[in-house]
Assembly symmetry: C3
Homo-oligomer: 127 residues x 3
Amino acid sequence: MPLVRIDIKKNPDATFAQKLGQVVYASMKQAINVPDKDNFQVLTEHDDNHFVYDPDYLGIQRTDGVVFIQITLNEGRSTEQKKLLYQTIAEGLNEEAGVRLEDVFISLVEVKKENWSFGSGLAQYAN
Amino acid sequence: MPLVRIDIKKNPDATFAQKLGQVVYASMKQAINVPDKDNFQVLTEHDDNHFVYDPDYLGIQRTDGVVFIQITLNEGRSTEQKKLLYQTIAEGLNEEAGVRLEDVFISLVEVKKENWSFGSGLAQYAN
Amino acid sequence: MPLVRIDIKKNPDATFAQKLGQVVYASMKQAINVPDKDNFQVLTEHDDNHFVYDPDYLGIQRTDGVVFIQITLNEGRSTEQKKLLYQTIAEGLNEEAGVRLEDVFISLVEVKKENWSFGSGLAQYAN
């Protein structure tokens, strides 16, 4: 169900974005019970002219290694669950992909469960 | 009003994505009464390293022909209307563009009607 | 907090999209009190086959210079504030970047304040 969009600056490793996506997926399974195999992602790399971040908003020091992660997912997770998700993603990206903790930017967009079709023209999560 | 984002794997036909978009637009008009001419879309093609889908989440067999469709639209459609939209899009993409029914992935993001400006700095849908 | 996505047709000036983004950021600070330095944007240019707009929906005459701006931001702004934001963005893009007023298309997606992590795996806006 989550649809994940990850945006980063161009990385010399063509598989780097995918590595980030794998960590995000594993973190969602671990922290907020996203089902196994529920993995759908769009990964995009940008040149310097098309990717904008502030290097110290809220006193957090960001670098060109910043990773924007926007996740569209079902509503209903508690603030505690969201906090655990942020921590799990940031620590995972740090440990598995060498991303600085300060460089992990996450935005959640919540939707109703009937707002998804996973194929065949059906609303698999609707009652 | 709907803003449609379609993401697919690179297709040899440069107009293929546009064809998909035309079907999505026609389906929205038919299934959920989107007004005539209300057609705004961003279409993006991705290489293998930047497009991730599970090949059988929920038992639905997906291929590299999978189409992600994310539609931002006004809130208020019923679950029945959403179901009709999913079915209309999937069948339309299948008939008009040869997309497998299982390869149609749809995500709806609902917003308030005052959340749009269609030009000239005005909120055309606000009271 | 706002995550801004700007989509335009390919522009010969590689810094044009960034110029648009600067105006959008300044407009958010001016019109809806977005904090200083709260500036995160993804800018994308598209060829003719991957960018679709209607040239006169609602009687507004649009050209290839149309600019799609989708802003994910915290919920709670009034309709009056949103109207002021639309006007400020459109006039700013017109004055600073030569965009026609009719070519400014804006979509807002509102989320809860605990739906953001600005780095370090924390939910900086959550209570």
